[in-house]
């Protein structure tokens, strides 16, 4: 009898744990913050949609968090859920709307071109990063002032995939260099640590991440911005062609609300940072100054001379054409991809 009671108790606990999980109420101090309506009242009559982000919750998504926190999505009649995946996964999910229920995703132009080559019908409808944010960085004692300084150095890269690889290939391509000019080592996502410890001389990372943490460790850091050497089509909002055809108004409302968030973020980064923390409560545990600096370093990448004239979120055909050319020459693309079909600026107006 006792044994049976214990078994029943264990099963009940199991079921309780499983049943509680999807709607597990977060403690009051921790907003779950996955939907745009989380900080405000629940959105009755709002259209529920999902924005699949190609990274973890981070202040680098501040424009979207601001749009959600300030009710811009709600004003547009949208109840936005943020979820977080790998970049390739979010592109595939956006491509398979409506089955996937992912209307919008964040992904780079390089991913869009690769996806279109594979027949995935996706388009960029807003570009957040006007400049490719990947950089080469090193301790100042190493001496990294130009591409020539990479010669003979040990360069750490997370792996032979993604934006870091394209950054390396683009720099080599632009300078007609061969990879044998340096020693490339795959080091996982430990670029800051391995550069600091001197295990590699140069790291490839994001301008707003690794160099920021090294400076915070009182290191003088040299940075080579890939965008200054060969700018590549970068991260923005991606949707399926089906969504554009069937619901152009939905795309327009979402993009416009996101751009309001972007404008506010650029105008008032302090407020944007504070609002973002609502969606990333974990950031409050560590070093808030570091995360504030990460946001600060992101801001210059979200605007350019082109956005001054054409508006925030602008997608530059010249950058995309150069990107396509490089990817084809580097054999990342096995056949030409029509750049003009891969993006549109219709929705930022």
């Amino acid at each position: 009898m006792t044994n049976r009671l214990i078994l029943i108790a264990v099963i009940a606990l199991t079921l309780a744990a499983c049943g509680a999980q999807p709607s597990a109420p977060a403690p009051t101090a921790v907003p779950v913050a996955t939907t745009s309506s989380a900080p405000t009242a629940s959105g009755q009559g709002l259209r529920p949609i999902t924005l699949a982000m190609s990274y973890i919750p981070n202040v680098q998504f501040a424009p979207y968090y601001v749009a959600a926190a300030k009710g811009y999505y709600k004003d547009a009649g949208l109840d936005v859920t943020f979820d977080y995946n790998f970049e390739n996964d979010v592109v595939q999910r956006a491509a398979s709307w409506p089955e996937s229920k992912v209307a919008f995703a964040t992904a780079s132009g390089t991913s869009v071109l690769l996806a279109r080559q594979q027949g995935l019908p996706v388009k960029t409808v807003e570009t957040l990063y006007q400049k490719f944010p990947v950089v080469f960085f090193a301790k100042s004692s190493t001496g990294l002032k130009s591409v020539n300084d990479l010669k003979g150095k040990t360069v750490g890269i997370p792996g032979r995939f993604g934006e870091s690889l394209y950054a390396l290939m683009a720099v080599l391509y632009a300078n007609k260099l061969d990879e044998t000019a340096m020693t490339v080592q795959e080091i996982g996502f430990t670029q800051a640590q391995t550069v600091l410890e001197g295990k590699v001389q140069v790291g490839i990372g994001y301008a707003m991440n690794e160099p920021v943490i090294l400076r915070q460790q009182n290191q003088q850091v040299d940075v080579l911005r890939v965008a200054d050497i060969y700018n590549l089509a970068s991260n923005g909002i991606v949707v399926s062609e089906a969504l554009i055809t069937q619901e152009p108004d939905l795309v327009h409302r979402f993009v416009q609300a996101s751009l309001r968030g972007l404008r506010d973020t650029l105008d008032n980064p302090d407020e944007a940072y504070t609002l973002s923390l609502t969606f990333i409560p974990e950031a409050k545990l560590g070093d808030p100054k570091l995360q504030r600096q990460v946001l600060q370093e992101s801001l210059p990448f979200w605007q350019s001379d082109k956005t001054t004239s054409a508006g925030l979120g602008f997608t530059d055909v010249d950058v995309w054409t150069k990107t396509e050319q490089f990817m084809r020459d580097a054999k990342l693309l096995t056949k030409p991809v029509d750049v003009n079909s891969a993006f549109t600026n219709d929705f930022i107006k």
């Binding site: 006792t2 044994n3 214990i6 078994l7 264990v10 099963i11 606990l13 199991t14 079921l15 744990a17 499983c18 509680a20 999980q21 999807p22 597990a24 977060a26 403690p27 009051t28 101090a29 921790v30 779950v32 996955t34 699949a52 990274y55 973890i56 919750p57 981070n58 943020f82 979820d83 977080y84 995946n85 790998f86 390739n88 996964d89 595939q92 999910r93 996937s100 229920k101 996502f189 800051a192 640590q193 600091l196 410890e197 991440n209 943490i213 460790q217 990333i280 409560p281 974990e282 950031a283 409050k284 545990l285 560590g286 070093d287 570091l290 995360q291």
Partner: protein, 268 residues
């Protein structure tokens, strides 16, 4: 009156048991303290910065912050729910299919090699596909946890049932035992010790499965917390998540062991 010999008296007198201090309980705490001392020494002597190797005191501080703010519970409860849910699914399916395979040898010969081969495919490679097909919600995480847990439970069920001596089965049949009585009074009690081996392995793997799913996608769970902390360069928070995972797995192991002791009474 018969007098006993000295040697007989000595044998008859109860020997007072010599007191020996029971130090077995000291093993685990001593190991933990030893590891903490080594950890602290490595940090102090190596002069490592916190974002490379944080000191135990810093991890403890972050643990307290994460626990009091509710963040730790938010992520731990998600992982617990996914692991236990996935384990429950695998338990039901593993026991059912295991019972069938144990009683139908030709089916076992046909299926087991395929099931074993399926385990050679790393779940981390399959997880992105599962997320793609089922979405990033609870359903996919439960499936991933169940997938990784299923085979150990299935195999232990087949082995446990096959290991029951034929004489006992025949005796029960001669006594007129029905199929249900055979299961209730012969198979379940005799299979339990081996089954619990599979349950313990399965529970530990279920946590791994849940974390793999959270790594690939999602906002909640200890796998997601590790990803988030990595993005924040908050290495102490990564340690907090890892330690919590270790505690959860240890807790599962202890619960399974306790249940085994309570249910497998005939062995002792």
């Amino acid at each position: 009156m018969q007098q006993s010999l000295p040697i007989q008296r000595a044998a008859a007198e109860p020997i007072a048991p010599r007191w020996r201090p029971n130090l077995h309980w000291l093993g685990l705490p001593t190991t933990i303290i030893g590891l903490l001392v080594i950890w602290q020494a490595a940090v102090s002597l190596g002069g490592y910065r916190a974002f490379i190797l944080p000191a135990p005191s810093m991890v403890l501080e972050r643990l307290v912050d994460a626990a009091t703010s509710g963040i730790l519970w938010q992520h731990s409860s998600a992982t617990l729910g996914e692991a236990l849910g996935g384990f429950s699914i695998a338990l039901v399916l593993g026991l059912s299919l295991g019972y069938v395979l144990a009683h139908i040898p030709w089916l076992e010969r046909a299926l087991t090699p395929l099931l074993a081969a399926s385990q050679a495919v790393p779940v981390v490679a399959v997880a992105p596909l599962i997320i793609l097909w089922f979405g990033p919600g609870l359903q996919a995480k439960l499936l991933i946890a169940a997938l990784i847990t299923f085979l150990p439970i299935l195999l232990s069920t087949v082995i446990a049932l096959r290991g029951i001596p034929r004489e006992l089965r025949e005796m029960a049949l001669i006594s007129g035992a029905s199929r249900w009585q055979m299961l209730r009074y012969v198979e379940i009690p005799l299979a339990l010790p081996v089954l619990f081996g599979g349950v313990r392995t399965g529970l530990a793997l279920a946590t791994t499965g849940a974390v793999v799913g959270e790594f690939v996608s999602g906002r909640d769970g200890l796998g997601a917390l590790i990803n988030i902390a990595r993005g924040l360069f908050d290495t102490p928070l990564i340690f907090v998540a890892l330690l919590t995972l270790a505690v959860i797995t240890l807790g599962f192991y202890l619960v399974a062991t306790l249940l085994e002791r309570l249910l497998v009474t005939w062995e002792s």
